[in-house]
Structure formats: C-alpha cells, structure tokens
C-alpha cells in the first residue's frame, strides 16, 4: 500500500514538470491548432531566454501566444507571423535562425569544422603512406651495398 501511494505521488509530481504553460484557445480551423503549437515551439521567449514561448509562464510569453492566436485567426501565414516577431524582438526570438550574413557561421561553422577535420586527417594519412612507402621500397646506395655484401657472405659460406 505504502509503495503504491509513493508511486502515485511521484507520478503526480512529475506530471507538473512536463508542460508549464497552458492556455485555452479555441481554434476556428483544426490546422491552426497544429500551426499554433509549431510556432510557439519555434519562437523563443525574450524574457526567459532558454524557453520557447509555448513553455514559458512569463507574462510576455502569454502576450506573444495571444498575439500569435490573433494573427492565426486573421489568416496570416507562418512567415508573416515570424516576421512580425523578428521585426519587434530581432533574430533572437527564432530558435531556427534565418540564413543571412550574420548567421552564416552558425549554419555552416560546424560542417566547415568537420570538413576541415577530414582534410587534416586525409593529409596526415597520405603523408604517412608516402613516408612508409619510401622507407619500405627504396634502399639507399649504402644499404644496397651492405645488402649485397651480406648476401654474398651467405652465398660464400
């Protein structure tokens, strides 16, 4: 019995953590609900910096959710809504930053570093291969003489 109660208490306490902010919005179209969910996940709360506006309980996030709901009702498309937010709060509010000169490093930096790593590995591997090939196949003149001597020695023995 005790164990059972403990399990229920644990379950209830975890349920609260899963999702913070819950509003009740009635959507005219079913597709709007999905778009609302997607947009509020993609936009970042300007006040509480590491939360999207779907998760945040900050008043500003609630205002922005209301604003998104209003714009969905007006039939604006996703890009118009995102532009509206970026106009006011800057590129900062987008979790998926737009591709422009400022964000190019962000977009291509990791791939560039990875590529650079591959190039360095390729160079090292090739150099090693050339080196080991040189040492294996080519004998210097002295080495050849010494080899001949040794071979002659064994023959004469």
């Amino acid at each position: 019995m005790k164990r059972w109660i403990a399990a229920v208490v644990l379950g209830l306490s975890m349920a609260g953590v899963a999702h913070a902010a819950i509003d009740t919005y009635e959507f005219a179209k079913e597709g709007d609900r999905e778009r609302f969910r997607q947009l509020t996940k993609e936009l970042r709360c300007p006040k509480c910096q590491n939360q999207d506006i779907a998760d945040s309980n900050a008043p500003i996030a609630a205002d922005l959710r209301k604003e998104i709901f209003r714009m969905l009702g007006e039939g604006k498309d996703n890009q118009q809504i995102i532009d509206f937010m970026v106009d006011r709060y800057g590129d900062f509010v987008r979790y998926k930053p737009a591709l422009n000169a400022k964000t190019a490093v962000l977009w291509f930096g990791p791939a560039g570093l990875l590529l650079g790593g591959f190039v360095i590995i390729a160079v090292i591997v090739r150099r090693r291969r050339v080196q080991s090939a040189a040492t294996k196949d080519e004998l210097s003149v002295e080495e050849r003489e010494r080899l001949d001597q040794l071979l002659d020695k064994t023959k004469n023995d």
Binding site: P46, K47, P59, I60, L64, R88, Y89, G90
Partner: protein, 178 residues
C-alpha cells in the same frame, strides 16, 4: 612549416579563450533591439491623467527618452527618483505606463512626483508589444523626428546616465539644433 603547425593548437586555444573571456562580461539579458533606427510605432492611446488621447504625433519635435514603466515593476521604483532629477535638469521624458492598473499609476505619480511630460496609458500592452518591450524598465531614445535611435534595458541610475546615456541624449539634442 612543421614548427608553424605545432603552434596551431595554441593559436586556436588563444582565439577561443579570448571569445570566452569576453563572454564572461556580456549580459545575456541585453538583447540588441530590432527597433533601432526604425520609426516609433503609431499608436492612439489614452493618457494616464485625464482623458486626452495621445498619438505618435505628440512625441515629435524634441529628442526625448521614452520610459516604459509600471507600478508592478520593482526596479522602476529605484529608477524613478533618477528620472525626476533628469526631468528637473530639463531632459524630456515621456512615459508609457505598461500593463498597469491606472488607479495605481495615478497614485504612484502623485506620491513620487511625475517626471513625464506625457504619460501614455498602455493597459493592454499593445504599444509595448510593437516596441518589442520584454520587461520594465526599458528606455527608448527618440530623435526629434520620432525615430528610435537607441534603447536601454534596465534601471537608469546616476552612474549609467553619467557614463553611458548622457552623451547619447546630448548627441540627439545637438543634432536637433539648427
């Protein structure tokens, strides 16, 4: 060539270290405002005192500070006496009472003195939203033509004003002189 390559990791380390060291002293709560060099948004809102309607046109003519505040905002209370002093010195300050209860705002202005030449009442936060306000206090610097030229987030205290903001305001005033 070989020697040079050996120094490469050190060079990379130094570059990263400089970036991270700088990052230690940046305030992540300070967002670059998207509104800088854009015109102050249009609005039509009542005044906090009386029932006059204020619009964007009322803010034009003189460079000014537009201060976003609320009675619910504790740091605004710290900032308020500084604004009073600035207003006494002749700095033009307009106020936006942001998402507040008007009776509380009236009481506050009555008790703590009113530094604002105009006091816009933005109960619903619509003007605040158009300005990209995400907290209070925030202060916008507008020029005589109503273009937002700068923005400061946080409490304006005497030191911040002296070291950072006074020069910015003065530049706008000088610019407005014929």
């Amino acid at each position: 060539m070989r020697r040079w390559l050996m120094l490469l990791p050190l060079a990379i380390f130094l570059v990263v270290a400089v970036f991270l060291y700088r990052g230690l002293y940046l305030n992540p709560a300070e967002l670059p405002s998207a509104m800088i060099n854009k015109p102050f948004p249009e609005f039509s809102l009542p005044a906090v005192q009386g029932d006059k309607t204020l619009t964007r046109a009322d803010l034009l003519g003189k460079p000014a500070l537009v201060n976003v505040w609320g009675t619910w905002c504790i740091s605004c209370r710290v900032e308020h006496p500084v604004l009073n002093k600035l207003a006494e010195k002749g700095v033009v300050i307009y106020g936006i009472n942001y998402k507040d209860i008007n009776a509380d705002a009236l009481k506050w202005l009555d008790e703590f003195h009113n530094p604002y030449q105009l006091d816009i009442r933005d109960d619903a936060g619509t003007l605040g939203l158009n300005l990209g306000v995400y907290g209070a206090p925030e202060t916008f610097f507008i020029d005589a033509k109503g273009i937002i030229r700068d923005k400061f987030v946080g409490v304006i205290d005497e030191q911040v004003w002296r070291e950072k903001l006074a020069a910015k305001y003065q530049a706008l005033v000088d610019e407005a002189k014929p």
